[in-house]
Amino acid sequence: MLQINNLWKSYGDQIVLERIHTEVQAGDFVTMVGASGCGKSTFLKMLLGTEVPSKGQILLDGQPLAAEPDADRGIVFQQYSVFPHLSVLDNVIIACAFSQSPWTGWLGRTRKAAARQAAEAMLDKVGLSHALQRYPHELSGGMKQRLAIAQALMLKPRILLLDEPFGALDPGIRADMHELVLGLWREHQLTVFMVTHDLKEAFYLGTRLWVFDKVRHDPQAPHRYGASLTYDLDINRKRGSDLQGAALLKDIQARTAPTVALAG
Amino acid sequence: DTKKDFNVCWSIYVGWMPWGYMKDHGIIKKWADKYGISIDVTQINDYVESINQYTAGGFDACAMTNMDALTIPAAGGVDSTALIVGDFSNGNDGVVLKGKDKLTDIKGQNVNLVELSVSHYLLARALETVGMKESDVTVVNTSDADMVAAYSTPDVTATVTWNPLLSTITQMPDSHLVFDSSKIPGEIIDLMVANTQTLKDNPDFGKALVGAWYETMALMSDPGPDGQAAREAMATASGTDLFGFESQLETTRMFYTPQAALGLTRDAELKATMQHVAEFSYEHGLLGDGAPNAGFIGVETPTGIYGSDSNVKLRFDPTYMQMAADKQL
């Protein structure tokens, strides 16, 4: 579905990403790890359309990707993802409102009632039906992320982008969220790209694990070379049971340390 | 009690420009030195503020008109003496109508003027001459600093003001001067007013001021190059040029000699003028809430006292001007 041809990205004379070639099939769950600052978020931004590749192309179904965000691609950030001035319910209803009347964001009575029903159903799925009238500041971190996910899934985007969505959550809540995301991924047959700092999480959730790292180094001018895709692993869905050899894991850990490590 | 250091204030107006000139050219210092005192002359841009400062005791003497002397310091209980009668307005204040050329046309109009000032008084006197009352017009208080700009808007159709604003305004297209102070000569008088008690305790202060004033008057009235230089300096200080300044002087009856000033001071008309002023002020509540009638505050003139002689607060005292006339300073 997605085809990425010789993608480069640089800011000024700092090359962030270089020579990325890959293809992604509909339904893939791609988890992405790499040292801090290596360009994972930048890559997501290019998929999203808020950054433009410096060289190369991203093709969606053979067509160049739209150069600005649209309803095809949903996103969940680590923070700030929800609208603070709207209640939980309105935060989801507005997703329908925006998609149905892009110019004003207003819905008539009947369409509003329909949107409300759909929103309530979605919130039920993410376990927020007891908090419909609360405002985001009254929610815990986990509840906020569940709301953000509900928002993003409302329009059934073909591609879902997640940038460290669970980084700020407690371990217990994180586990719940994993189940939620996997459930929704299966049900809606999404294509998911997820950045994480937690290798274990990456192995657990993904069907493919991408590791970003620099292949070339110039100690005098570290900005001369950018990171590329150094590993692209197919992960057996019987998760965790058959990790691909301790050596590989150690290698990945060493390259991406100190910011990525098996939690605990 | 006697003292050595005195403060005098004045504000920019054609008849008072000599005070600035005296300060800049050391005339005031010369006369103060002669009497062994020091006099600090301060220019204040806001006329009302200068009188308020004098009334509150910040200055020993201040340049003001006869009406303001009555309504501000005198009504405020500060016994004041008109030390120098400098000039009277002889066309320096006027009523201007836009698009109309008769005073009677003013009926029903908004009139922009500085409320409760001599302009207001002039308007009242003008209306009297055509048998109208103040209630026939609507007075809109307008600050003097903004008068010219205000007049150039279509909203303003009638105004009462003084020079140099007046001449700027009458030069504008379709403006007609329908009444001016030359029709009530000697009623709007520009004075140097001093605190009576201070003056009594320190006659040298009065002598120095009067001496300096008439020396400057002699210079100012000199038709030769010295006089012209002096007038030119005063012109620039007031923000105009020699031509503009002299045209203002034309509508001002300056008393260049003490004799001329004494003429007005000793005239019985002065008492009648002050009665007019007091009555106007009383009607507008300027004499204070406690004033039972227009004569509540006594005004002493050489020809007698107007109003209450037990509450004399404003005195026209010819003594010092007489000394100048007698060349005894």
């Binding site: 309803a71 507005i94 009347s101 110019w103 | 501000i72 809109v140 307008t142 205000a150």
Partner: protein
């Protein structure tokens, strides 16, 4: 003995401490006033409280001889009307300009520098031009207030709009929203409480410009009265009027703060 930084007065102490400086100021006033009045019973600069009472009694309760109005209420009403209208217009204008320049890079490129320059011009110095354009009536007074405070509000709102996390704008776009919908449904509602804050900050300037405007050409208003009676140094009118203006300013500020808390609870409890 605790460190000074750790000492907290309890309720009654706090009350005492709060009242203390006011009581002291009052005392200083009474003593100075008495001293001046002893020297000159007609002194107008620092009137006694009896004088205040009788003057204000007249202005508040007795119809004026000249116009038949209750001057005090008439003045208050006119001034509040002008101030209210001026602030309303300035807030609306500031909100629109701030929103557009804050959210749309193109509009910002065109108008931000102009806005900066306009906010630096002292409006008082341009009065003549204002008069020509807007006349001398109520309009020009309102316009002076508007010109005096809208650049501040607009720049504040612009900054606030830029502070709203870009993630929200991106999120809206992934939900399909076009620019007008983002402006109206995402930015505008979040800027409302910030607008109220900006208005509160600019109220002081608003009063200042109101008083200045009323000093220029007017027939009533709190500022008008103060300037009029300044001509004969009636501090028995000026001081109560100043106290009244201060009280009104305080009330308006308090009311806005209260409304802001009531209307936008999400803004105050930590925001996002």
């Amino acid at each position: 003995m605790k460190r000074m930084i750790n000492l907290r007065p309890d309720r009654s102490w706090r009350m005492m401490l709060t009242l203390l400086p006011f009581a002291l100021l009052l005392l200083v006033y009474i003593l100075s006033s008495d001293a001046r009045l002893a020297l000159n019973p007609n002194d107008k600069l620092l009137p006694s409280f009896a004088q205040f009472a009788s003057t204000m009694q007249q202005m508040v309760f007795e119809p004026s001889k000249r116009t038949g109005e209750l001057l005090f209420w008439q003045d208050t009403f006119s001034s509040l009307q002008r101030l209210g209208l001026g602030i309303l217009i300035a807030a609306t204008l500031g909100l629109v300009i701030g929103l557009l320049t804050g959210a749309l890079p193109l509009v910002s490129a065109a108008f931000s520098p102009l806005l900066t320059v306009v906010s630096l011009i002292p409006p008082m110095a341009l009065l003549p031009i204002l008069f020509i354009v807007f006349g001398l009536g109520e309009l020009s007074k309102v316009v002076l207030i508007v010109i005096g405070i809208f650049p501040f509000i607009a720049r504040d709102i612009q900054k606030r709009a830029q502070e709203i996390p870009a993630e929200q704008l991106v999120k809206s776009q992934t939900l399909g929203a076009a620019t007008p919908a983002i402006l109206l449904r995402v930015l505008l509602p979040q800027l409302m409480p910030r607008l109220i804050d900006a208005v509160r900050l600019s109220l002081g300037a608003g009063w200042l410009f109101l008083i200045a405007a009323e000093a220029i050409a007017s027939t009533d208003g709190l500022g008008y009265r103060i300037f009029l009676v300044r001509r004969y140094l009636s501090m028995d009118v000026i001081l109560p009027y100043v106290a009244w203006i201060t009280l009104l300013a305080f009330l308006v500020d308090w009311l806005l703060a209260w409304a802001n808390r009531r209307l936008y609870p999400w803004y105050h409890q930590g925001g996002l």
